[in-house]
């Protein structure tokens, strides 16, 4: 469960003030709103990439307001994937596991499992430069899920994809719920994408959250 209690965030001169929100464990919540409404700012606050000026962020009952991003148990998939140019697909899937000190055998087993699920097996030795848009987003999704986080944050992950590729990844995201008990917060501008995946759709308008 994600619980925001009257949090205030700032991005330049823009402020989100005293925002409260509760996302049930295991649910898929979609956050919509106009460009500049503060959706990404809110996501960054939850992930620990932007300081929370007041209030608190709790994940699974634990106060993570002042924890570094890596200790919050959140996997992040940004809009453009933000893959690491110098790492292969295999290294992407194993990156967090290596940083977190998993043994080589456990790492390899997890990489294999993710590669099978995301259909990345034949691409494991490729660099991001050799991947299509859809393949890049599948790698970004696998990298975010690799360390089995409690929360998955998706920041418009399908916005730059063609319809066919988008449907493929929507299928993977739908199937994710049957594979892992994960709480998902998903930002999108696409209503059909939201309706296909969401348990709940929220709108961020004028700094306020509305159902």
């Amino acid at each position: 469960m994600i619980r925001l209690d009257r949090i205030t965030l700032r991005a330049g001169t823009f402020h989100l003030r005293e925002l409260s929100l509760e996302i049930p464990a295991g649910s898929h919540t979609v956050l919509m709103g106009r460009t500049g409404s503060g959706k990404t700012t809110l996501l960054e606050g939850i992930c620990g990439l932007r300081p929370v000026l007041t209030g608190s962020v709790r994940i699974g009952g634990r106060d993570v307001t002042h924890l570094p991003p890596g200790e919050r148990g959140i996997g992040l998939v940004p809009q453009d994937g933000a893959l690491f140019d110098h790492l292969t697909v295999r290294q992407h899937l194993g990156f967090a596991l290596e940083v977190r000190g998993w043994s080589a055998e456990r790492r390899e087993a997890r990489v294999r499992e993710l590669a099978d699920w995301l259909h990345l097996g034949p691409l494991l030795e490729r660099l991001p430069a050799g991947l299509s848009g859809g393949e890049r987003q599948r790698v970004a999704l696998g990298r975010a899920l690799s360390f089995e986080p409690a929360v998955l944050c998706l920041d418009e992950p399908l916005s730059a994809l063609d319809d066919e590729t988008r449907q493929g990844i929507l299928g993977l995201l739908s199937g994710l719920r049957s594979r892992a008990a994960i709480t998902t917060l998903h930002i999108t501008h696409n209503r059909s994408e939201a309706e296909q995946l969401a348990d709940r759709i929220l709108h961020l308008r004028d700094g306020r959250l509305e159902s």
């Binding site: 960054e44 990439l49 940004p78 975010a144 360390f147």
Partner: protein, 278 residues
Amino acid sequence: MTPGLGPMSPRGRDRRFLGAMAVLGGTYVVLLVAMVAADLLYTTPGHLWRALGSPEIRYAIRLSLLSCTLTTLLSLWVAVPIGYLLSRFDFPGRPLLDALLDIPIVLPPLVIGLSLLILFQTAPLRALERVFPVTYAVPSVILAQFMVACAFAVRTMRNTFAQINPRQEQVALTLGCSRSQAFWRVVLPSAKSGVLTAATLAWARALGEFGPILVFSGATRLKTEVLPTTVFLELSVGRLEAAVAVSLLMMASAVVALLLVRSWGGGGLPGPGGGGVG
């Protein structure tokens, strides 16, 4: 017909415009090529061979290679952290620091040498010189080269880091990296071509540095003589052939450096305020 443009067809006007642009730009290119060609025609292989055989010139080559390499390493040591901080963080005084770092690029080289000389006349540095001589010794050559070359390396690294998507680093943080792990594992490897470009530019810039070295290190043969000093000394005693031969050596090094920069993805020499390298 548009008034004032005359009877020429649109295609003819375009051709005249592009021709004028080519002639204006071409003048500079012709001058550049003519200059190199003149140097090449002036020098014979014999001149070059004799120059390379001279103990003074061989010393200058060795010192130039050593000092430029040390300058490059020192420049990277400083440029990587400054470039990273300037490109990633907003902090009080950042615009001032940014402008300050451009000073060695815009300042006359002689002034840098003079300023270094004055700095080493202050009490703390005079005390340092009693145990570790700098002025008019080899360390002064490296310091003089460093003061100019480092500014180019900083500018290159700042542009390089600015072009790397900060989201990559943020994702690395969510994956469990500390800030320093994200830097070493994600940011720096992504900046590899920028680091190589900065190193090459710093090396090439250091090789050509003369003004600050003349003032701060002097022009003493077999002591503080680097290749530009050799050109100056050979000219001053009327040995034009030797001066041209050494100039050609420096030109060849500069061309190799530029080719390396291009092959590593550098867009060119960075100027004040950003030059698009990286």
